[in-house]
Symmetry: C2
Subunit: 484 residues, 2 copies
């Protein structure tokens, strides 16, 4: 593995460039940081290792988690408030969440939505009725997390807050085009194909710049005020995943870019930053759409259910990994069966539960018992075990009965990491004693950010976190006292 140890300032013979603020990585977090730093008057540079910025966001749906009463929410007839949003985001952010980050994010959400619109991102005032993971149309508003699913639905009033930019299909690219243009409009300099490898630290421990590779030659960039790491997560670094989150290795599709190799996390840690939440990730196995599949029954290798099937896929997928030990099937009948986007393999099709149970080699009588119990209660609109919403409850009685393979070994499991550098709300990287590492900031997936757990996640929280806290980090770096 590369050497991430910081270089001593006294070992830097000459700087190849010099700026107030140096942003490392031009995904949504780095782009947002650069825009705000430059707008604050700081001479700002973004160093991006790829030929073009964009990062993981440019590969995504572009859904961003906004609320508190956006124009789109209002136009679609949904009431929302900062307090209600805060109550939900507190749940969605997970047990390790930082309440201060949740509060600022929710209180700033309307302004943040306007910020994206001011960059030219457009949102249609339309609601996407059917539960889906990847809206194909240019419609906007969607329940993008567990808002309507138990237990969250019992704790907060469900309000849709996922906002997709107005483009058919994936819209993350459009979002990032706006951010990249915003970076240039704000007057920041962008240097592509420039791979930052180490930080430069002075004798007092303050980060003074970065050491990069550009055109196969060393490229030292001085940061008069601060360095913002926005390098993404570490899902593309198999060694790091094995070390910190080995359960994620069973997932077969890495969500992100090759840049998500943990380099920023390692550079920051080697400069004294603490890493936290390193074992957590978002795991994604999408057995819906079609939404009719939410009427299916997800069972483990003992033939029993283990989660309400209408939860957000981050929660059901986490349950497949952690509660079902990676082995699960979605049981459907002829009426509800459809094709998923991930084209789940059909593990078995039979005319009776007994035959399906045998075909799946489940314990004798287990699936039969599960289905008898489920159907009996579904007929009454009840799910005493996991409280699936009544609109997804119907007895599965139309043969043939099928089993879709939702195992990590036999199905499509997307994954990215949720651990990284410890930062405070201003984006300062914190050391093991909770003190800022002077001159060093970070945002996005190289940090342990707003949402800490895949099981509570909602789509749009990561783009929301990266962009919102990227902006704060850029401003904080720009506000640092310049070094002499």
């Amino acid at each position: 593995m590369a050497d991430f140890r910081p270089i001593s300032l006294r070992d830097v013979e000459a700087w190849h460039a010099e700026h107030d603020v140096v942003v490392v990585g031009e995904g949504v977090a780095g782009g947002a940081a650069a825009i705000e730093a430059a707008r604050a008057g700081a001479d700002t540079v973004v160093l991006e290792r790829m030929t073009r910025g964009g990062g993981a966001t440019s590969l995504s749906t572009g859904i961003t988690y906004f609320g508190g009463g956006t124009a789109i929410q209002k136009a679609c007839g949904f009431d929302d408030s900062v307090d209600e949003m805060k109550a939900f985001v507190t749940l969605a952010a997970g047990a390790q969440a930082d309440p201060e980050r949740v509060r600022l994010y929710c209180e700033g959400s309307l302004e943040h939505f306007d910020w994206f619109r001011s960059l030219g991102v457009e949102y249609k005032p339309t609601f996407i009725e059917e539960k889906t993971t990847h809206p194909f149309t240019d419609d906007c508003l969607t329940f993008s997390g567990n808002e309507e699913a138990w237990p969250h639905s019992a704790q907060t009033r469900p309000v849709p807050r996922g906002h997709k930019p107005a483009r058919e299909g994936e819209a993350g690219g459009l979002l990032m085009e706006a951010v990249l243009a915003g970076v240039l409009d704000a007057g920041a300099t962008v240097v592509n194909e420039c791979r930052v490898e180490r930080l430069v630290v002075d004798e007092a421990g303050r980060v003074a710049g970065v050491a990069a590779q550009r055109d196969k030659a060393p490229f030292f960039v001085r940061a008069r005020r601060g360095v913002v790491l926005a390098t993404g997560g570490f899902i593309f670094n198999e060694e790091m995943v094995a070390k910190h989150a080995p359960h994620l290795l069973q997932c077969n599709y890495k969500v992100g870019t090759e840049g998500d190799d943990g380099s920023g996390i390692n550079m920051g840690a080697a400069a004294g930053g603490e890493t936290v939440n390193m074992s957590e990730g978002l795991v994604l196995n999408a057995y819906y759409p079609p939404a009719s599949h939410l009427k299916g029954v997800l069972v483990d290798a003992t033939g029993r259910r283990f989660v309400n099937e209408d939860s957000y896929l981050g929660r059901t997928s986490d349950a497949i990994v952690s509660k079902a030990d990676g082995r699960a099937w979605l049981i459907v009948d002829d009426e509800i069966h459809g094709q998923t986007q991930a084209m789940h393999r059909i593990a078995a099709v039979e005319e009776s539960w007994e035959a399906l149970e045998r075909a799946l080699e489940l314990p004798e009588g287990a699936l039969v018992q599960t289905m008898a119990y489920y159907n009996e209660h579904a007929a009454r609109g009840e799910d005493p075990l996991f409280h699936k919403a009544s609109r997804y409850l119907k007895p599965l009685v139309e043969p043939p009965f099928g089993a879709l393979d939702c195992s990590t070994a036999g199905s499509f499991f997307g994954v990215f990491t949720l651990g990284g550098l410890a930062v405070n709300a201003a984006g300062e990287v914190l050391d093991h004693a909770g003190r800022p590492v002077p001159g060093l900031f970070a945002a996005g997936r190289c940090t342990a950010g707003l949402c800490r757990e895949g099981r509570s996640y909602a789509s749009g929280l990561s783009i929301g976190d990266g962009s919102f806290y990227g902006r704060l980090a850029g401003r904080a770096a720009a506000a640092m006292e310049p070094r002499a």
Copy 2:
């Protein structure tokens, strides 16, 4: 929180003491390190913050995981081999285990057993038949992990390897007395009531000594060769647990001493060491003895089983936390019910399953269904769901039926941490790029050691790991080139 950043060598005005090897902490890892360093000819000091050494081991049963054919195993009629031990310890060490550490540990086990005996620890050649967690007698050999429980029992031939020193009741104190005497016999110096707070690092990044507090005054100790951190885990540091392993906070009894506050982990990390495995811990809710309780049925809040009840308590307790979300009951009938050492609260006693289900407020029909399925198969000596061993399978049919509260909120849950500094097998602390931090070694629970997961743990692995790898770390520190 304290400042753990290393002090620059040039800021040290004077050393109060000077040794070849400085060991921090005198639990079993530090004691073992000091013995071996001193025996290797190094001038060695142990700095212990408490009035007396002992650490968490002195509070334990003293069971240590030895195998490969010890005299005790042979005398009790059990065959064992290094390869069979390796196969089992590979499973017990968990998914994140380091195969090299497993190999060395197993290959060195007979010698390591003799090493303890040479210190004066005695072991009786007797086997403890009944499955228990805390043997009350002075008998020795016990199945101390999941050896006999599925799925481990299907993967390796069950052999008992837990060795308890010959003393009635807890024997960890006796074990540590022998180690503490061994430290002095080997010629090492022991300084008690000396709290190490920071490392001292020279300009090249090599650890040069430690800064401690002694008699309320600073006490700087130079290490000519190396520093060995053996400071224990972090379960007594609530802030660290909240940050790295928040699910462990629901456990109400910290296993260890107040010294287990993570100070060594933080000092090592601040000097450039990487921390790994920080989210893992061993969780312990002992519903046996009496062994008759292994015939009980452990159910979650949906009234269903989630683990074979005859697993080692590290596995059942982990399952209560991770699979049952902290809510579980052990269901017993009149025949098998007894009092546990932890005196589990009886949540309900009823004459029928229907009544018990209602009393526990479980979903309608769920417990009834679970017990019907379990009893039907138990009568045939089968457990198709979780493969409990046949000797623990009997239908529960003697009313009244009872439910023992095994929830984290209502029962006794012991816990300690299994994460810490990344080290190689020689005990060198590794940085984020996998390179040794020069002059810094670590062993025991301040490291991510031999066993990485509570769900696969076996009693004796932590004392075994700390003592075995403490010895190697002590030798490696003693073998360092002395600084000028």
